[in-house]
């Protein structure tokens, strides 16, 4: 017997939609950030002017337009989106991959090594470097997966440890590369670079490069694997209910290792693209680039979906590009870190909203029953 369902008010329906909650959380993060900037005596408007400029290239203060900012925003988005996928892919399989940073660093290192020492064959050189970056990322991630699946080692701790191991390992390796000083190596041969002359011309010499296309391909690959393949089905089942998946014959240990490997490959790809796309020489890392850590926030905001993560990554790219502009307007660039941190904390609101909705339902039912 079908009962007539009362149409719930718009606000309640919106709360039930994950996408809307993400938008709400981002807005809240910005709101608090704005207030904080105001509280310490700076002008929040400058923060938004910087963000607007990084997005559109248009400088409100002097009316000038520079397309390079658009190019840089797009270019910065690439590693954010890919590291977001790294976290998201693992999350769909039920794992918390905060090792994106280490997987990124390893990818970057291998790309630098192959870039400087690999075969200088046009069209082949950078491909080998990028593939190498993805493979080492997969290895670095797969290791975490095996430790979790076979030895029950928490991926939260093992990934953090491997992040630091990666950082120092990268230094050890890169200091041995040809022409290495304390902070850089010799320049790459042209065949290793991902630079794209067309992009450079239309964006007034920004660093936007072929990595952008690789990222777009990754978006499609992510969505495809998750939604359309056997592999994705098994991974999602494992992520939702590991024991039920196991009882149904799904090879859980293998699934966890594979999902961490694929997640690592995404982050490794990000490292490779940054290494060969945005720089003409290798870097001796002094600290972490933080794309990996930010990938966590990107995936959470994007709710682990393909489109959501891509949009969230773009948002973060825009914020990063705005940092230098903000600093120039006396706003400490760390405000973007604070906003990102707040967004992650506010994601906790998701479960609070579930509690709120349940409470509302209960109140409704209570009223109906007691009125009889």
């Amino acid at each position: 017997m079908k009962t007539k369902v009362k149409q719930e008010p718009f606000f309640t329906r919106m709360l039930g939609s994950d996408g809307a909650v993400s938008v709400l959380v981002v807005l809240l993060g910005f709101l608090v950030g704005t207030i904080l900037v105001g509280v310490v005596g700076k002008n929040p408007l400058n923060m938004y002017k910087a963000i607007f400029q990084s997005l559109s290239g248009f400088n409100i203060d002097n009316g000038k337009m520079n397309v390079r900012y658009i190019g840089e925003t797009l270019n910065y988005s690439v590693p954010f989106i890919l590291c977001g996928f790294s976290m998201a892919f693992a999350a769909r399989a039920g794992l918390f991959n905060i090792g994106g940073e280490g997987q990124y660093i390893m990818g970057l290192t291998v790309a630098q090594v192959i870039g400087l020492l690999g075969p200088t064959v046009p069209g082949l050189h950078w491909v080998v470097a990028i593939v190498g970056a993805m493979l080492i990322g997969a290895l670095w991630g797969g290791l975490v997966g095996i430790l979790k699946a076979k030895y029950e080692v928490s991926e939260v701790v093992s990934t953090i440890m491997l992040n630091y191991v990666a950082l120092y390992l990268s230094r050890i390796i890169c200091l041995q590369l040809p022409g290495a000083t304390t902070y850089k190596t010799a320049n790459y041969p042209d065949t290793a670079l991902l630079s794209n002359r067309f992009f450079q011309t239309i964006t007034n010499h920004s660093m936007l490069n072929n990595g952008f296309f690789l990222m777009l391909a990754a978006v499609v690959v992510y969505w495809f694997i998750m939604e359309k393949t056997n592999l994705g089905f098994g991974l999602r089942a494992t992520g939702f209910n590991r024991e039920a998946a196991r009882c149904s014959g799904i090879p859980v240990v293998r699934s966890i290792a594979i999902s961490m490997a694929i997640a690592g490959a995404f982050a490794g790809l990000a490292g490779g693209i940054v290494a060969l796309g945005s720089f003409s020489y290798g870097r001796i890392l002094a600290g972490m680039d933080n794309y990996g850590f930010n990938g966590i926030a990107v995936a959470l905001v994007g709710n682990n979906t393909a489109i959501g993560t891509a949009l969230a990554g773009f948002l973060f790219g825009m914020l990063k590009n705005a940092q230098a502009l903000m600093q120039g307007k006396q706003i400490p660039k760390e405000i973007t870190f604070i906003i990102q941190g707040l967004i992650v904390v506010f994601i906790a609101l998701r479960s609070a909203i579930a509690i709120y909705l349940a409470w509302r339902n209960k109140r409704q039912l209570q009223k109906e029953v007691l009125a009889k």
Binding site: T229, F233, F240, A244, I250, L365
Partner: protein, 512 residues
């Protein structure tokens, strides 16, 4: 003649998100009586008593204890009023001792405020003597038997000077002999002046020990009867709302070859202790073999070993001649092993998947649901699921695309049963198939099991409800401490004899 009521709960209403657990319910319990609270799963009995114990707060209604109106905000208030609860799922901390569990929250301290466990142990020993509830005060709770753990739960209430004691489904985990002992304990408590409320759905126990009985159905109060003068049949009808069939109709079995052969099987639990020891049993085509036993004697580990969830430490398992002792879970499924698991939430279903996705959990990776490149055919999954929903009468708001988590317990179980049967297994392992279900669903599932047996499948049924085993199965094996202590035909053995075997003694005759 005024009988003073120990408990009066008047007009109690309690709602949870999506369900009215108690709808204007009234309960009156006389002083020093044993009062049973009867109802199916989901009728609202546990909720009502949780309100009495202060675990929940009612939305509306009044409560009077010994004539005085009270507001029971939390368990502390209930305890002060002399109300104690022996929970169905024991609320004991596994790595604390018996004494620590009993005194938790009311610990004796020395003058520096430091815990005085020695004094606590003395008090526990004294209580245990007074009421004849034998326990070892210094033993770890995780090391003692289930019956002993229940005695600890009872002692918790007595330590707090309870004179109203609520028992929530106390016999689910006990052997027939332990049940008799519990009935004795209840009679003794009554003679010591306690008022007892017994929450149960077991009619036999109500007849054994209760004075009066209140029946709830779907959250509503149905009536209160005088137990000595009422029949079990009448109680059952009040509980369910219609005439109930106790006996299950089935044809005599047509037995074929042995399809599942278990020889000298040993399986350890997660901490390495051997829980299945040298167990042997065979199951033929077309028969239902039941394993009777009290929870904790290795049934769970047996199922884990057979299904592949746990590795096997010794012995062999042959499925239609093939050795599957160390085969992967997927291989066993492919060879024709079906499994309706004990815990449907944990092992049976993925709540965040739709009915369609859940129904292909075991075969999504092969045709027709997957092509040779590994791509899924979602439409085909949906269509096939719709057919199953139709065949098995599954109530699902959005058809094949309904989230499994939003289905009722009975419908969830139907999805699992439908999936397993649809895979046409040679052998079907069935564990606790009717736990937590209402009578309608229980009847349906049992009929389905018998139908599959008539189609020639070999079925191994594990259940803690002795009635279910005795009614459904063609042969009954009793498990005790990890091995089979006797296998008999359905009509060759009595419940009393099974009870003795559960406790470990072997009966002569039959196959061992």
């Amino acid at each position: 003649m005024l009988v003073e009521h120990a408990i009066e709960m008047i007009g109690i209403t309690k709602t949870f998100p999506g369900v009215v657990a108690n709808d204007n319910v009234t309960l009156e319990v006389a002083d020093r009586e044993v009062h049973a609270l009867l109802g199916e799963n989901g009728a609202g009995k546990s909720t009502l008593m949780s309100i009495l114990f202060g675990a929940y707060n009612a939305d509306s209604g009044t409560i009077r204890i010994h004539g005085k109106e009270v507001d029971i905000k939390d368990p502390n208030v209930a305890t002060d009023l002399g109300i104690g609860m022996v929970h169905q799922h024991f609320k004991l901390v596994h790595n604390y001792s018996v004494t620590e569990n009993i005194v938790l929250g009311m610990e004796p301290k020395n003058r520096f405020g430091v815990l005085d466990i020695a004094q606590a142990e003395k008090r526990v020993a004294a209580l245990s003597d007074t009421y004849g509830l034998s326990v070892d005060p210094s033993a770890m709770v995780e090391d003692i038997t289930v019956g002993a753990q229940q005695r600890v739960e009872i002692l918790k209430t007595l330590y707090r000077n309870a004179n109203i004691i609520i028992f929530d489904e106390p016999t689910a985990v006990l052997t027939p002999q332990e049940i008799d002992e519990l009935m004795e304990i209840i009679r003794r408590l009554k003679s010591e002046g306690k008022t007892i409320v017994l929450i149960t759905h077991k009619l036999k126990e109500i007849k054994a020990v209760a004075d009066r009985c209140t029946v709830l159905r779907r959250g509503k109060y149905i009536g209160t009867v005088d137990v000595p003068t009422v029949t079990e049949q009448h109680l059952a009808e009040m509980m369910v709302g219609r005439a109930v069939q106790f006996e299950i109709e089935k044809q005599p079995p047509t037995i074929g070859d042995v399809v599942l052969s278990i020889k000298n099987l040993s399986v350890a639990d997660s901490s390495g202790h051997l829980k299945v020891k040298d167990l042997s049993v065979d199951v033929h085509q077309g028969e239902i073999v039941g394993i009777a036993g009290v929870d904790g004697n290795g049934q769970t580990e047996l199922l884990y070993g057979l299904s592949g969830l746990s590795p096997v430490s010794g012995g062999t398992i042959l499925l239609d001649g093939e050795d599957i002792t160390h085969a992967t879970i997927r291989r066993r499924i492919e060879l024709g092993l079906g499994h309706i698991p004990e815990d449907r939430q944990k092992h049976g279903l993925v709540s965040d998947f739709t009915i369609s996705e859940n129904s292909v959990l075991k075969n999504y990776y092969i045709a027709p649901y997957s092509n040779k490149y590994g791509l899924l055919d979602h439409d085909r999954m949906d269509t096939d699921a719709e057919v199953l929903i139709e065949q098995f009468d599954i109530r699902a708001g959005r058809g094949a695309k309904t989230m499994a988590g939003s289905l009722s317990g009975g419908n969830q179980q139907k999805v699992i049963v439908a999936r397993e049967i649809h895979l046409s297994p040679k052998v079907l392992l069935v564990a606790q198939p009717t736990r937590g279900l209402d009578v309608g669903a229980i009847e349906y599932i049992r009929q389905r099991i018998i139908a599959e047996r008539d189609k020639g499948r070999a079925i191994l049924l594990i259940s803690f409800e002795l009635d279910e085993i005795m009614n459904l199965c063609d042969r009954i094996a009793t498990i005790s401490k990890g091995s089979i202590v006797g296998i008999f035909g359905q009509h060759e053995v009595t419940e009393r004899e099974i009870g003795l075997m559960m406790a470990g003694s072997k009966r002569s005759g039959g196959e061992v």
